[in-house]
Amino acid sequence: MSLANQIAENGTMIIISDESTYKATLKDTLKIATQDLCCYVTFNKTCSSLGDFFKKNGVPLKNVKFIDAITRTIKDVESTQDCTYISSPESLTELAIVLKKHLEFPFKYLIFDSVTDLITYADVNNVKKFIKSISYQCGEAKCKLILIAVENSDNKAMIRTLGTFVDATITYQKNQ
């Protein structure tokens, strides 16, 4: 089944990639999501470098609103209409407040890039609580939650646990 079909069929999902397919996963997932209103949360790269990456790869960003948890750990920056900055990937409560406000608007997709990066910053139990809560809120708001995960030998068990909070675990394959 194609990635698009799998995304269409599920409300909340985790898309598992590895280091070699991670960038392709981001590109292909956002290509699908950007057909509608999409909120993209980054715990990995800054919003500006992600913007460059997607533009270079022909992913239109006109329907995308970014939430950036990285830039403010490097420099002080004011939020804009295209990107809301939060203090740090560790500030889960601050992120939850910002996400709640976003989910009051008709976003169809909420993408976390990546949930495995989030685990490296924040306490695992708090991340589990957070994902459960956001997953529930997305369900209420009829917004699809897509968690991107980069699997390695250290985080397999954690990803499996997160998989129990969502409707589907999708393993990314190139040219799906």
Binding site: K31, T84, K101, P106
Partner: protein, 358 residues
């Protein structure tokens, strides 16, 4: 190509939010009523009004009342999902930016005028069933930088704006500095409230208070009834709301005289109970999860306890708020998120749980 097909298939099953957007993209100037009509599911267009009402009755008859309530609550929780008709994604982004920068909440409990009062601080009053019983003495606990002083200034300011007379007793910072803080947090007309006789800020030296306490204790020679009123509240001013910032400063000045401090605190609470003023007494404590006050008696003497947390995890700190106790009023027993916003001061999110270990 395949993706395009999928996308087309998706479009035939648009949710109402998608319909809104699609419709807006097609014709942004289309009248409101038409847009609403098209957001309805199109799968059963032949449904008559009568038919749908019978279906509604059947659904309602089979629906568990709790489930029905839950559904209604969900609708209230996401009003924008039901009613938002943003004209473009640019508008949505603009509104989001405004909502994040200036979150506004409705004041459900009147700040003044009843047997129960509101704090006027966004989100806090929603944690109470009725409000804070008028005349209560409330201990405001927290570590450094947790928002205790801003909270007290904010609630007194809101009360003064609502017509009450308020009195801020400071034992640490100067009145000018406090007024400067207030302006930083959007309370720009503090001087006007002062001129109108609604807001009084007075600085007391903890050392002077200590000397007076010592002298009075010496005079009283073991008697517990000490008239503390002249020490704090001017005779000419009958406040509706008082803040004392802070009990910890008095305790520090009475270091080594724990018995004197204990007697003073007992008398202070007795005095506050006798007045009709609602009082907020700041207790600074390094870790409110371990200790709420200097002597350990303050939290038992007070009618209410509000805790401001400022928890460090990793490289960041997150703030949280809790109503621990409030005699004579129901309240939600949970720790909720708090933010200190440069423009608006303290904002509490009564429905937002905290993703940190407290």
């Amino acid at each position: 190509m395949k993706e395009q097909e999928n996308s087309d298939a998706d479009l035939s099953e648009q949710t109402s939010a998608e319909d809104i957007k699609l419709k807006i993209q097609q014709n942004p100037a289309e009248p409101k009523h038409e847009r609403k009509h098209k957001t309805k599911p199109t799968a059963q267009p032949q449904k008559t009004a009568e038919h749908s009402s019978i279906e509604d009755i059947k659904t309602k008859l089979h629906k568990n009342p709790a489930e029905h309530k839950r559904e209604q609550k969900t609708k209230q929780t996401h009003p924008a999902q039901e009613t938002a008709e943003p004209s473009s994604f640019e508008d949505i982004k603009k509104k989001l930016q405004q909502n994040i920068a200036e979150p506004k909440r409705e004041q459900k409990i009147p700040i003044t005028g009843g047997d129960y009062i509101g704090t006027g601080v966004p989100g806090i009053d929603e944690l109470f069933t009725l409000g804070i019983p008028k005349g209560s003495s409330v201990l405001v606990v927290g570590g450094p930088g947790s928002g205790k002083t801003i909270f007290c200034l904010q609630t007194l300011y809101q009360a003064a704006k609502a017509g009450e007379k308020v009195f801020y007793i400071t034992l640490e910072e100067s009145p000018d500095r406090l007024k400067s803080h207030m302006k930083d947090f959007g309370m720009h007309d503090i001087e006007e409230l002062e001129r109108k006789g609604k807001f009084l800020i007075k600085k007391f030296s903890p050392i002077d208070i200590t000397r007076q306490i010592d002298a009075m204790l010496e005079q009283a020679k073991g008697e517990l009834l000490i008239d503390l009123k002249p020490l704090l509240i001017p005779n000419s001013f009958e406040p509706d709301r008082v803040a004392v910032d802070s009990l910890s400063a008095i305790a520090a000045a009475l270091f080594g005289k724990e018995e004197s401090y204990r007697l003073y605190i007992e008398q202070l609470f007795t005095l506050l109970h006798e007045t009709t003023a609602t009082s907020f007494l700041i207790s600074e404590t390094p870790d409110p999860t371990q200790k709420l006050s200097v002597s350990g008696a303050e939290e038992f003497l007070a009618d209410g306890v509000l805790i401001f947390y400022n928890v460090r995890h990793g490289n960041v700190r997150e703030s949280a708020f809790e109503v621990l106790k409030m005699r004579g009023s129901g309240f939600k027993k949970k720790i909720v998120a708090l933010q200190i916003n440069a423009e608006d001061g303290i904002i509490v999110y009564p429905e937002q749980e905290v993703f940190t270990s407290i």
